[in-house]
């Protein structure tokens, strides 16, 4: 057992740790924090509150499988996030949306009243829910310390824990005046808490399964002896399944539109691709969470059979039963984490809505207009700080007076049902162009009325009176007509409220003519992908406005420097002259966006409206303009595509041109080399001829020598010409190969024999290594002989007297490999590839005289290629090795 004081110290240390994480993340802003999809995914687990942490164990123990829907619903819906949330993130980014109220009300004409109504709905749904968390903190605190609840809140330790949380939230939650900014510190702390609560419940689960019992099957076996075990772990027919399904629907809706979920999933989303990680990570998180509910719930029932304890707190009672203080405290901290993260995020989101959609637009806009940026910023932040603090205290009060006796589960579900009333307007905003403000508001109010009448009044009335009597009873009796026998209370009210809400929304929307502004935003929301680049273009506004007036307003919130910077960016983006005096629709939207993050979209609109004079536009006109702008956008897109195509084309042309220039230069070089090669023998022939012609008294032996020169040089000349023509034919594939089965050893010998006398002349040692198993291969023998002679001839030229030439024939992976090594000097590394180019020396060695015509290797390469093989040269040890690889047919 722990004393109150000790536990309080533990809580303090724990909160200090959270402060530290928030502080470090905020200060460092390193990439690990900012671009981490897991932090984003973990922050979504703010969904698992005290209700999930403690409440669902209670549900599992008392009413069976009904604990599952709050996990199953989200798991079913989350895969659709890749489509839904991606769009919401884009819409929110483009319009600088900072809350659920902004998101919905902007779509329905940026209406101040709608955003105020949504804010109130959220407050009414969430404040009790926050109260629920405080209740869990307080009760578990007393449970762990085994102290009685104190009636005097000033002496109750739980009170101080709540105040600490309130201070933490209001400090870190209002770091930025722009509410659409990302709150790195808070989110990192929330992610850490999500991790810890899962970690602690895993520890507890393992403790129950393996310490308290002998494994999962042991619990199952023992628990199955309970009379109600079977009945609690099956669906009770169609009836049970229907209830179950509606509960899944409720939680599936809630995961999308609970303000805290909207905030973590949309406002705090840094990169769209993080959603991809979240859609598998978060369901996995929920699944792991669920796995341990069953053994803890039934283990608890076995341990405390016949005792009067609250099953919602089995998770603390079990380790306590075994006198394990460590696990007791860890579980308590896990629960605390669940509560704190929910309280913080909910309080922040509610405070943004409260300030941006209620307090500022209905009370402070006039004041803001006359003050400067510093004062305004301070005022906005203070309003939010105060709101956060006030909300938490309000929730505390709510807990103290209304939900002391009720279970965690029912309060949580009621919140879900109330928030669910926003669903038609919310999803309608995403997918339905025709939805109107009137339809959405009337549907919402009707749905709410049903919730209050059906759920809230009975729920909280019972806190004071044990049964309904008198007039109230009569009203309820009158509505008994609507009760559906096979649905329990909450699913039933959810069903009716959503039915009425959606029906009214749809019917009124289709029968009432919409307002032009809401139609404008409908296009922007539904077709967000089209407008994402130039959304300011899609905003329709006509009237008279002066840049200077609007600038004046902006300066009061952003300050002079930031305003000017923003204007510069705007002018650059749309190529507008900075001297322009009148503002166009794009500038109006741009300015509204600048203000929206600070004071909400509705207030931003009101402020800008104050200095502009808008002309009325008919709905028809708006639709025309939208059509036009859509066409423009399509046209623009086409033009962009066209210009990209053209650019591609011009790049291709440029590349082609460059390669032509290179080819041309290669051709010049080639001709140069050819000419050079030809001139050398011609010179010799000419000189000899000249001497023979002019000189009559030339000695006979010299005369003979000159004549011989003429003959050999003529041969050389024709050899070069033949080589060139032959290479040209090879290059153009004009020579047909005569491929047959031949003996490779014999072919090699045929090539070698004519060279033998030259080899002997230079006293070169020549050898063959034959590693072949068989000698028959398919190739063109004549070409092969030529190839061998070229390579061997080349080797001969470069090998000094008494050098070595060695040929090795081997087979590897169905390939015939022939290597010819010679002890000639190394080829410069950079030339190893180029030696196979015709007259390769013309490029790199155009001054040093090459040995050979420079065509032999080029011809060799073409011969090998024609037969589907490869040839390469490498410097190896004392000389150079040529490797010819032919694939075995």
């Amino acid at each position: 057992m722990m004393s109150s004081f000790a536990l309080f110290i533990v809580v303090l240390i724990y909160l200090a740790l959270l402060f530290l994480v928030a502080h470090l993340a905020e200060k460092k802003k390193s990439k690990v924090w900012i671009n981490n999809p897991y932090i984003y995914a973990l922050s979504l687990a703010v969904y698992c509150t005290a209700w999930t942490y403690y409440g669902s164990i209670g549900v599992a123990a008392t009413s069976g499988l009904n604990y599952l829907p709050i996990y199953i619903g989200p798991i079913m819906v989350i895969p659709a996030w890749i489509y839904i949330n991606t769009r919401i993130v884009r819409i929110s980014r483009v319009n600088k949306i900072s809350s659920l109220a902004d998101f919905i009300s902007l779509r329905y004409g940026n209406s101040r009243s709608f955003s105020a109504i949504i804010t109130i709905v959220c407050l009414l749904a969430i404040v009790p829910y926050i109260g629920l968390q405080i209740k869990a903190i307080s009760e578990t605190f007393h449970l762990v310390t085994k102290t009685a609840m104190s009636q005097n809140i000033l002496t109750d330790n739980a009170t101080f824990v709540v105040i600490l949380i309130a201070l933490f939230s209001s400090y870190y939650g209002t770091k930025y005046v722009d509410a659409s900014e990302k709150r790195l510190g808070i989110i990192s702390a929330i992610a850490l808490e999500s991790f810890l609560k899962l970690f602690f419940i895993i520890i507890l689960g393992l403790f129950v399964i393996y310490y308290a019992f002998d494994g999962f099957s042991d619990i199952y076996e023992k628990a199955s002896k309970f009379e109600d075990f079977k009945q609690k772990n099956i669906f009770n027919g169609i009836e049970g399944a229907m209830n179950w399904m509606v509960l899944c629907l409720i939680s599936g809706t809630a995961i999308c539109i609970l303000p805290r979920q909207f905030h973590t999933a949309i406002i705090e989303n840094r990169q769209e691709k993080h959603i991809k990680t979240a859609i598998w990570f978060f369901p996995l998180y929920l699944l792991i969470f669920t796995i341990f509910i069953f053994p803890i719930a039934w283990g608890g029932r076995l341990i405390f059979a016949g005792q009067n304890v609250n099953p919602e707190f089995y998770s603390i009672l079990i380790p306590q039963h075994f006198d394990n203080t460590l696990i007791t405290v860890l579980v308590f901290l896990g629960g605390l984490s669940s509560c704190i993260s929910m309280i913080i995020i909910s309080a922040i989101t509610l405070s943004i809505m409260l300030s941006n959609n209620l307090i500022i637009p209905y009370g402070l806009l006039g004041k803001f207009k006359s003050e400067n940026e510093i004062q305004n910023t301070r005022n906005i932040t203070n309003i939010r700080k105060f709101s956060i603090f006030a909300l938490i205290i309000m929730a505390f009060g709510f807990y103290k007076y209304f939900i002391l006796k009720t279970s965690l589960d029912s309060v949580g579900l009621i919140s879900f049902v109330v928030i669910g009333q926003l669903a038609p307007a919310f999803f309608g905003a995403l997918f339905w162009r025709r939805g109107t403000y009137k339809g959405a508001v009337i549907g919402l109010l009707a749905g709410l009325a049903i919730c209050y009448f059906g759920l809230i009044i009975p729920q909280y009335y019972f806190s004071y009176n044990q049964e309904l009597k008198g007039a109230l009873r009569e009203i309820y009796n009158a509505f008994d007509f609507f009760s559906i026998s096979f649905l329990s209370k909450i699913p039933q009210i959810f069903f009716w409220s959503m039915l009425v809400n959606t029906a009214l929304f749809a019917m009124i929307s289709v029968s009432v003519k919409g307002n032009y502004r809401e139609r404008n935003f409908a296009e922007l929301y539904v077709d967000i992908d089209k407008y994402i680049q130039n959304h300011e273009n899609a905003f329709i506004w006509r009237g008279t406005a002066y840049v200077s007036d609007i600038k004046n307003i902006l300066e009061r919130f952003l300050g002079k420097n930031k305003t000017e910077q923003a204007l510069r960016i705007f002018n650059l983006k749309y190529n507008i002259d900075s001297q322009t005096e009148t503002a166009d629709s794009r500038f109006i939207k741009f300015s509204e966006n600048l203000l929206a993050g600070r004071i909400g979209t509705a207030s931003a609109k009101i402020l800008i409206e104050g200095v502009t004079k808008e002309d009325k536009i008919s709905l028809k006109e708006v639709l025309n303009i939208l059509e036009e702008s859509k066409e423009n956008i399509t046209l623009n897109k086409k033009l962009t595509e066209k210009s990209e195509e053209l650019k591609q084309l011009s790049d291709d042309l440029k590349n082609a041109n460059e390669s032509l220039i290179i080819k041309d230069r290669q051709k010049d070089d080639f001709l140069d080399s050819v000419a050079h090669e030809l001139r050398t023998p011609i010179t010799a022939i000419r000189s000899a001829g000249e001497i023979l012609a002019d000189d009559d008294d030339i000695p006979l032996d010299i005369k003979r020598e000159f004549l011989n020169n003429i003959i050999t040089e003529s041969d050389r000349l024709s050899e070069i010409i033949n080589d060139i023509l032959y290479l040209d034919k090879l290059e153009h594939g004009e020579i047909t190969l005569n491929i047959k089965q031949n003996n490779i050893i014999e072919t090699y010998k045929k090539a070698l024999n004519p060279l033998m006398h030259l080899i002997q002349q230079k006293d070169i040692h020549i050898s063959e290594v034959n590693l072949l198993n068989q000698f028959l291969y398919e190739y063109d023998e004549a070409r092969m002989i030529q190839l061998f002679q070229n390579i061997l001839g080349n080797a001969l030229k470069f090998t000094d007297d008494q050098g070595t030439i060695q040929t090795k024939l081997s087979e590897k992976e169905n390939q015939l490999i022939i290597t010819i090594f010679n002890t000639g000097k190394h080829i410069p590394e950079e030339d190893l590839e180029m030696i196979f180019d015709k007259f390769y020396q013309s490029k790199n060695q155009n001054i040093l005289k090459p040995t050979g015509s420079g065509l032999g290797l080029a011809i060799s390469k073409k011969i090998v290629q024609a037969q589907g093989g490869t040839i390469r040269a490498e410097n190896s040890g004392l000389g150079v090795t040529f490797t010819i690889t032919l694939s075995k047919k």
Binding site: D672, R679, T680, I682, R686, S687, I691, F706, I847
Partner: protein, 120 residues
């Protein structure tokens, strides 16, 4: 007797040049590349050097470069005798200080005349 060094790596070209210059009363020295030319220059000062450009080991341009640095050789005439005949190469040779650039194939008679004129 005038001394001439003829540098070329083509044996058959050298043969006819050697024969003709000897016949015309020159003291002929045969070199197969630039390095051999430089070897000769250590021991003698020739009146004329005929230089091919593309030669193994040391090419004609580099050889001329070294010759031009030697003050003893300032009166020696250097003539390029090359199969390279594009204007770029010729210009380069003359700019480097060659006294003439004769392209292959040439007339030995005219070459001889050209050299005789240089000494007039």
């Amino acid at each position: 007797m005038k001394k001439i060094i003829i540098a070329d790596d083509e044996h058959k070209i050298l043969m006819s040049l050697e024969y003709s210059f000897k016949k015309n009363g020159y003291d002929v020295y045969i070199a197969r590349d630039g390095t051999e030319v430089l070897e000769f220059l250590k021991a003698m000062i020739p009146d004329v050097i005929l230089l091919d450009i593309m030669m193994p080991n040391l090419d004609g341009y580099s050889t001329l470069d070294i010759i031009k640095q030697d003050k003893k050789l300032k009166d020696t005439k250097v003539i390029f005798l090359s199969a390279k005949n594009n204007p770029r190469d010729i210009e380069k040779g003359l700019e480097m200080g060659a006294d003439a650039f004769v392209t292959k194939p040439y007339s030995i008679k005219k070459l001889m005349q050209q050299i005789e004129e240089m000494f007039e």
